[in-house]
């Protein structure tokens, strides 16, 4: 394994060669691309990238643009709600399913189906289900509740929650299946011991089982968090950012300024902000997961 000998660099040459294509990919594409974008976010690029240094002007303008501030707020609302709701629903469902149920494999497949669909399809389907004229509202009104109102996508104050519903539909199945796997990994003896000691089931879950599932929670957290920051196609397909700017998201802002608004510098600055935000979350996680233990 790790060697202190001076020729360490030349040991296991084949192993290092085998990993090179992958490392180059990560280095050139992701690091290179991100650094390039960062550098040009300090310029006055408009239609084409031009090296005309203007310092932090683009960032000043970015944070004084209402659409960007709304985007950040939306990402925050969507992210927090998504994390909490999908974890709670996913865990409760998993605990329910953690008994023996019939046709479990088929059930898991169906639960995971939404996750196997493109966000474009999800967005379009939910755009329609949430449409007041022929979606849920019209079905419930048809049942006799004529004053029932449910039109999140047409009300700027709550439109972001309409997006959230679609996001939850797509993502909760994955979380449930992951949590179910985690619950199955818990030693049977623990349940027996808790029962003998007379600990109520909910307390066993809360204070014994959930802390034991830490690795599963972390994997899930990483997967969900990564999907939240990227949210782009769902918005494009479901609301196009509307009504008004009420469901705008940072990724869409970047895209629109780079390709639609012909204001590259602004788009670069916005994507750099996103990058920094991700780093603030990822670096502490990476140290917790990989840094402390097992090193050296």
């Amino acid at each position: 394994m790790s060697s202190e000998r001076p020729n360490g660099l030349f040991r296991n040459i084949p192993a290092k060669v085998a990993a090179i294509p992958m490392i180059i990919t990560a280095l050139v594409v992701f690091m290179g691309g991100s650094l390039w974008t960062m550098a040009y976010s300090l310029t006055k690029s408009k239609l084409l990238p031009k090296w005309k240094f203007v310092g932090l002007d683009q960032y000043e303008r970015l944070w004084s643009t209402k659409r960007w501030v709304v985007s950040i707020e939306n990402l925050f609302i969507y992210g927090v709600c998504m994390l909490i709701a999908s974890f709670v629903i996913g865990f409760i469902l998993a605990a329910l399913m953690d008994q023996k149920i019939r046709f479990e494999n088929t059930f898991r497949t169906i639960i995971l189906y939404p996750f196997a669909l493109s966000f474009i399809v999800t967005g379009l389907v939910w755009q329609w289900i949430l449409n007041p004229e022929f979606g849920i509202q019209s079905i419930i009104r048809g049942l006799g509740f004529t004053s029932f109102e449910f039109d999140p996508l047409y009300n700027a104050d709550i439109a972001i929650y309409g997006i959230l519903i679609a996001g939850l539909w797509q993502g909760t199945g994955l979380i449930m299946v992951l949590m179910l796997a985690g619950l199955r990994g818990i030693d049977q003896e623990i349940w027996k011991a808790a029962k003998v000691d007379g600990i109520p089931t909910w307390k066993t879950y809360l204070f014994i089982v959930i802390p034991m599932m830490r690795p599963v929670f972390i994997t899930t957290l990483v997967l969900v968090a990564a999907s939240i920051v990227k949210v782009y196609d769902l918005i494009v397909a479901q609301t196009g950012g509307g009504p008004g700017i009420s469901t705008e998201m940072p990724a869409k802002y970047v895209y629109d300024y780079m390709f639609g608004g012909q204001n590259l510098g602004q788009g670069f600055a916005a994507s750099t902000m996103m990058l920094l935000a991700v780093l603030v979350v990822v670096i502490p996680w990476a140290y917790l997961e990989f840094g402390g233990k097992k090193r050296g």
Binding site: A19, I101, F107, A116, I129, G173, V236
Partner: protein
Amino acid sequence: MARSVTTRGKAINTAIAWAVGLLIFFPILWTILTSFKTEGQAIAAPPVFLFFDWTLENYAIVQERSDYLRYLTNSIIIACGSTVLGIIVAIPAAWSMAFVPGRRTKDILMWMLSTKMLPAVGVLYPIYLLFIKLGLLDSRAGLVIVLMLINLPIIVWMLYTYFREIPGEILEAARMDGASLKNEIIYVLTPMAVPGIASTILLNIILAWNEAFWTLNLTAAKAAPLTAFIASYSSPEGLFYAKLSAASTMAIAPILIMGWFSQKQLVRGLTFGAVK
């Protein structure tokens, strides 16, 4: 869990589970049903569920207006091409990390995975410029390369977790018997890791199939896959729901069918290897 579940309890759990399953599946079912309705029936209030005049005209119109097979071919080539390319690059890398770990292996893995979390918009423009320079814009080859790069971290990570479960002694024995490195990977490691590789391939095909951000932005007419096909039928006024449903059904059918026949790999793949 074997916590003494009674037959009655089991029946109730199964009923709840299937109610949840149906609820989750309903939007998909609804889309499929709507694709067989006329535009009028599709937006009828209150909605009709099963009793309408089934028709195939939406499919005919969609096929006539945009050549489904061309988009399908593009999707298949892009999804499979990027997956094959990714697996070829990832197997040696995962092998080296799982069996010949160095001091930096953990760091490299972490670094790879964190790139997957970086916002894709951050590298969109540099790649776009590169594509213009290399003439790769709106080409299937270009998309194969980009999607391979985007999903590579996930592939490497998944293969690494599978490879780690294979005892290193077997590979060592092969080496003792004089197998070259290439043969060791191709004839010893790969066959043993087939279930893991299959799940990885399935996951990657699905990810590439559904990828919309890159495919919408880097293609125009020639290389556009099914995501672009559905997007072209979306309109904010929602005038063509039946046709949109037909287009969506055509786009998701391959995944639903493929997933149904490989349920085990699907579950394992979609949960990124966490469910064995």
